[in-house]
């Protein structure tokens, strides 16, 4: 790899992912709290890393409660903590923060953990926004109370501006399902056609039910340490070559543009610059698909295709198994699992691909992966570039 040196990009490849894990089951789990899902994922990721809770000196997590909740539940007393909550991509942001902390020498082993009872709602807070929040004043009274509204607003404008079609949006869901049929852990594995997506009921035009992600219960966790220490651990180190974050708004009414994703343009440019690679170098992409429109705007913002070209880009099976652009190889939030804050699963699947552990969905020879997430309603964007080589 070329283009970025340690002098100009001091975080590049300084940290590596040495463990990934998920809760013992994922899906609809009526007998497990969100906290237990954290624990199972953390336990499994640490075991994968050949480490134990006593080795962890930094915990990153993201919920609606104090960041103390999860370390206490796990019995860990960290000396470094991250509680950044910028929506579903928060865990990608945690990777950037963890790599900075590891490179600065203020922590050694960082545990990033997610647990969410998104479907069963066990151990979950009841209310998202206060009665006098700006959301509850300026968006929710109009009936704009869910993410399908915010994401759909960009779909409508993209269709208006570029002629993007419902069929092209459906391609994203169909490809995700095709990947899910290769993954025994995926929640939805029945075959899916474009016609099935288009004939599912409208939730918020232009988005149909099958343009929308699953709602499930699951946990996921990732363990990072320094590149040096990673070489002494059992798993093949997966180096973090690049990371980028951008926030542009909280409420979708404050989004700068609706036919392009400014935050993703910035996070992607930062990640590619740090990594010293370009979009054409990426072997496998895991892109947050809370709704089918999200990967379309992301593909344009990240430079995989030109502005307005994403609908054509995904058509004809290009992102499906066997296509030239393997994307969302676990089945994605549309068919694998989606707890509410899906971002951790992007990282877990990218690491599995780079280790060659993705079973029937393995992309042969994958050495360079991109993870890209959204948070809120296009509000936050975070991009990671992961590699088998430093």
């Amino acid at each position: 790899m070329s283009g970025a040196s340690s002098a100009t990009m001091p975080l590049r490849a300084r940290a590596a992912i040495v463990g990934v894990g998920e809760s013992d089951q994922i899906g609809r789990l009526a007998d497990k709290s969100a906290q237990q899902l954290h624990m199972e994922a953390a336990r499994n990721a640490l075991a994968d890393a050949g480490l134990g809770p006593g080795d962890v000196d930094a915990v990153f997590t993201s919920g609606r409660n104090m960041a103390n909740e999860v370390p206490e539940y796990l019995g860990i007393k960290p000396r470094f903590v991250g509680g950044t909550q910028v929506g579903g991509c928060s865990f990608l942001v945690h990777v950037e923060h963890a790599m900075a902390a590891i490179a600065a020498g203020v922590c050694s082993v960082a545990l990033i953990t997610h647990g969410e009872s998104g479907y069963s709602r066990i151990g979950m807070p009841r209310q998202r926004w206060g009665d006098d929040s700006v959301n509850n004043q300026f968006e929710i009274p109009y009936g704009a109370g869910g993410p399908v509204i915010g994401y759909g607003l960009a779909a409508t404008r993209h269709m208006h501006e570029y002629g993007t079609t419902s069929e092209q949006l459906a391609e994203v869901a169909v490809a995700a399902r095709a990947w899910a049929t290769l993954n025994p852990r995926a929640f939805s594995r029945n075959p899916l056609s474009i016609g099935d997506v288009l004939s599912s009921r409208l939730i918020a035009w232009p988005l149909h039910l099958l343009d929308c992600c699953l709602v499930t219960d699951a946990g996921g966790a990732v363990v990072l340490t320094s590149a040096e220490r990673s070489r002494d651990l059992p798993a093949k180190p997966i180096y973090v070559l690049g990371a980028g974050t951008s926030l542009t708004h909280q409420m979708v009414s404050q989004m700068p543009n609706f036919d392009r994703w400014d935050a993703a343009e910035r996070s992607g440019a930062a990640a590619f610059a740090m990594a010293g690679v370009s979009p054409r170098d990426i072997d496998v992409a895991e892109i947050y698909d809370a709704f089918t429109i999200v990967p379309l705007l992301a593909l344009e913002a990240l430079g995989f295709c030109g502005r307005g070209e994403s609908g054509a880009f995904v058509t004809g099976g290009r992102i499906a198994p066997g296509g030239e652009f393997p994307m969302n190889t676990n089945g994605g939030g549309l068919s694998y699992t989606h707890t509410g804050m899906y971002g951790i699963f992007l990282i877990v699947e990218a690491v599995r691909q780079l280790r060659g552990q993705s079973g029937d969905a393995q992309v042969n020879g994958a050495e360079l992966a991109l993870c890209h997430g959204t948070g809120g309603e296009w509000s936050s964007a975070a991009t990671l570039i992961l590699s088998t080589h430093d």
Partner: protein, 143 residues
Amino acid sequence: MSTTYTGPLPVPTPESRPFWDAAKQHRLSLPYCESCKRSFFYPRPFCPFCFGEDVSWRDSCGRGTLITFVINHRPPRSFPNQDPLVIGIVELAEGPRLMSQIVGVEPSPDHVVCDMPVEVVFDDVTAEVTLPKFRPTNRATPL
């Protein structure tokens, strides 16, 4: 006016109270920065463009453009009826954008289109709360 309105209602803060008080009087009032001479939204006691704190209130002409929209076929269960809602982003002639409902039009993409001109209407949903909504108009947006 309905006394049985069950939908979610805004609860003002001190900084947003003038907006909601004006709405009740059927005025769409926007905070205006006296330093950089721009209206902005949502209400804050300083300007998000220049951080200036010399902020006054100016009434909007009430006309603007529909930037984008969705047709929500699953309104929140608390809403008084479950008919599809057109929810959109309006860019006012003065510049600011806000979320609102588009009313007085068939909730169908055959009748609602991006960039269509809209004008404010005031929906007195309760005795205390008026929600500014928008409807299509043929009147051109002033520059």
